[in-house]
């Protein structure tokens, strides 16, 4: 007591805390003070981490970091870093219990959709093979000591499981990987060319026509996509998805063929023979969180206004939508929005959009978020093309 009352420095002891302590003691007030500075101070409204509200963190990506995988990438978004490795393994069709049934049903499908169009039936079959046979197996691990909340070596947390599921679901809905890239064919030597001509009327149109006796699928490549979050500072999904995307773009599958004499699949060890996956589009994820100025807005029941009233009151901005939230901001907001967009010929296509955990973000805001995500797409495309 005595030491603090006898000032050594000429300035009187103040009750002010250093910013770092204030941030820990009053996190909500700290972020709010940054976002709504007093009008007299002439300061711009920035987040506590110095970013503007719709600004993403510095992103870097590096592909081919792991030598023992078929494809790999490290993506770092600010202090969140994700490592992704893609390993390809062979799945023989004779090991698939339901293979004959699947083939029969896909033939039926083909017959039905023949008049609709070839590309459509191909899409359907893609979906069938990749989804039914689980040819893509993503897994995300947070048990790396990436953040204090996750103990290393612990069983996968609910967040890790949820993220794995989201990655798998996105891989399927975007149909990013073509099933054709994952098939290993066997073409028997063409002994009777006349029979070949008679049988294959639809052959030029669709090579995957499984009723064709000449060419058959002998095996599939299964891609094991493992993501390790080695450092977690908020927004794990964007980093994880970007790393999956970069790793798949980097993935090379060796040339594989069915050897009839040995009755096995052989792979060429010649690097020149290996081919890359041809992915469909480039879906980019961007996540947002909504920070409410009024910390009690959620639980003061009587005060919650109707949606219309709320819109009219919006003049005094009471919440901010923060792009790419870091761990500190994520802890202060419950409402999340996540978008995955792709661009086709300059036109933005939304692949996935989700928001939950609150009621402040509505269509007007989501429209803006789509624009922000489209800008982010350009940025990420540049980064991924360079890596």
């Amino acid at each position: 007591m005595a030491s603090s009352t006898t000032p050594i420095s000429p300035t009187p002891p103040s009750l002010a805390l250093p910013p770092s302590q204030f941030a820990r003691l009053q996190p909500h007030a700290y972020l709010l003070a940054h976002l709504s500075p007093p009008p007299a101070s002439n300061q711009p409204s920035v987040r506590a981490n110095g970013r503007a509200t719709s600004q993403f963190r510095v992103t870097s990506a590096n592909a081919g970091s792991l030598t023992h995988t078929n494809g790999s990438a490290v993506v770092r978004i600010g202090d969140t870093a994700a490592v992704c490795g893609v390993r390809a393994e062979i799945l023989h069709t004779k090991d698939i219990a339901s293979w004959s049934v699947l083939q029969a049903s896909s033939e039926q499908n083909f017959d039905k959709s023949n008049d609709v169009g070839v590309s459509e039936s191909q899409d359907e079959e893609d979906r069938g093979h990749i989804q039914d046979l689980d040819l893509l197996v993503p897994n995300l691990s947070l048990s790396t000591g990436c953040a204090p909340g996750f103990t290393p070596g612990a069983p996968p947390s609910a967040l890790a499981q949820s993220l794995s599921h989201q990655i798998l679901s996105l891989l399927h809905t975007t149909r990013l990987v073509r099933a054709d890239d994952l098939r290993i064919w066997y073409q028997p030597p063409n002994l009777d060319s006349e029979e070949f001509r008679n049988a294959g009327e639809g052959m030029d149109v669709d090579t995957e026509q499984s009723e064709d006796p000449e060419r058959e699928i002998k095996a599939f490549w299964v891609l094991y996509i493992d993501v390790m979050i080695i450092s977690l500072a908020g927004n794990p999904f964007d980093a994880a998805w970007a790393s999956v995307l970069a790793a798949l773009r980097d993935t090379k599958l060796p040339k594989a063929w069915w050897d009839a004499d040995n009755e096995t699949i052989l792979c060429s060890d010649n690097v020149a023979d290996a081919r890359k996956l041809s992915l469909r589009g480039l879906p980019i994820a961007s996540s947002f969180c909504s920070f409410e100025g009024d910390a009690a807005a959620g639980w003061r029941a009587v005060v919650i206004p109707d949606a219309e009233e709320q819109k009219q009151k919006k003049g005094a901005q009471q919440r901010w939508i923060l792009a790419d939230p870091d761990g500190y901001e994520e802890g202060l907001s419950q409402e999340r929005a996540s978008l995955v967009v792709d661009k086709e010929n300059g036109k933005t296509v939304i692949v996935k959009m989700e928001k939950h955990g609150g009621w402040t973000v509505d269509s007007d805001d989501l429209r803006q978020l789509v624009d922000v995500s489209a800008q982010r797409w350009d940025e990420m495309k540049r980064i991924l093309d360079q890596c």
């Binding site: 989804q131 039914d132 689980d134 609910a158 967040l159 499981q161 949820s162 794995s164 599921h165 989201q166 798998l168 679901s169 399927h172 809905t173 959620g298 639980w299 029941a301 919650i304 206004p305 109707d306 949606a307 219309e308 709320q310 419950q334 409402e335 999340r336 036109k347 933005t348 296509v349 939304i350 692949v351 996935k352 959009m353 989700e354 928001k355 939950h356 955990g357 609150g358 009621w359 973000v361 509505d362 269509s363 989501l366 429209r367 789509v370």
Partner: protein, 308 residues
């Protein structure tokens, strides 16, 4: 139609347990404050019984389980899902760490698939449900801070019960509205204080660009994009989960459709009481949630109504 009306009343009669059997926790008092205002609307009962019978909508009932604090069953004929939900609140959580958020109740959600153990898909849905319900539960009311609100949802039936593995992912969007409704009704049944109610719907956009409501799992597979919306009783957008390929204009059309599905043409007056016209109330999902609760209140307070 008379048959259906009769079965409806029979179901009512089954639900109507003797008042003495009802667990007499502190819940009855709060329930009274929450639900008594709706008694005023009960005089209009004959009207909406008829309108319920006319529509092919979901079927729900409250407080079916005796041991849980609150429970609800929900069946959606369109998608074929049947969900049983139970809520225990407020209870002491053994693994509760006060460091998390001591000033609020923790909302925990467990989803049990019908035929297998829960997998990663269930974890994801649990997370979504937790964030939606956790936001509308008033976890700071008396008796709730530091305690837990535990919601368990069992998928007891459906034309295509989830396989457990993640092969059919879009199924989770098709089942999400049913899970949300069952969860909400179970919460109401357990008298958990809520800041608002909501209703949820699944809409799909087909290849020809039509917006279809309540798709079955097989129809959902053929849809270009699937959208799940939860709209609150005050017209807020509480939840949106959209998958597939679509642009924002399509999304806005779907969102407007979702609003009309959830709210119908009912006009909520200033005091939050729904003014019910002929048949309009039951056309909306919010109206359905409201009527389900009113039915339950009617059977619970039958003794009072009789004495009036």
């Amino acid at each position: 139609m008379r048959d259906r009306l009769q079965t409806r009343y029979q179901v009512q009669a089954q639900l109507r347990r003797p008042i003495k059997e009802r667990p007499a926790h502190e819940k009855s008092q709060r329930e009274t404050t929450l639900l008594l205002p709706t008694l005023r609307t009960l005089k209009k009962l004959p009207n909406f019984y008829l309108s319920i019978v006319n529509m092919v909508g979901p079927i729900a009932s409250l407080s079916q389980l005796n041991r849980a604090d609150g429970s609800a069953s929900y069946k959606c004929p369109a998608t074929g899902y049947s969900i049983l939900g139970a809520v225990n609140a407020p209870i002491e959580l053994p693994a509760r760490r006060d460091a998390l958020k001591p000033e609020e109740a923790t909302v925990e959600v467990f989803v049990k698939p019908g035929t297998t153990t829960a997998g990663v898909g269930e974890r994801h849905v649990e997370g979504i449900l937790r964030s939606v319900l956790g936001k509308i539960v008033l976890g700071r009311e008396k008796g709730f801070p530091r305690r837990g609100v535990v919601l368990t949802l069992a998928i007891v039936g459906g034309e295509n019960v989830e396989r457990g593995d993640s092969a059919n992912l879009s199924q989770y969007l098709t089942i999400l509205p049913a899970l949300l409704h069952a969860g909400l009704l179970a919460m109401v049944s357990a008298s958990v204080p809520l800041s608002m109610t909501f209703s949820a719907t699944l809409l799909g956009v087909t290849k020809s660009g039509d917006i279809v409501r309540d798709l079955s799992p097989t129809a959902a597979k053929a849809a270009v994009s699937l959208h799940v919306f939860a709209v609150s009783s005050k017209n807020h957008l509480l939840l949106n989960e959209s998958e597939g390929r679509f642009d924002f204009d399509t999304w806005e059309l779907v969102r407007e459709r979702a609003l009309s599905v959830c709210q119908g043409e009912t006009a909520a007056s200033a005091d939050g009481d729904v003014t019910m016209g002929e048949g309009t109330a039951s056309a909306s999902l919010n109206g359905f949630i409201r009527e389900t609760v009113e039915d339950q209140v009617y059977s619970d307070y039958a003794f009072k109504l009789d004495s009036i």
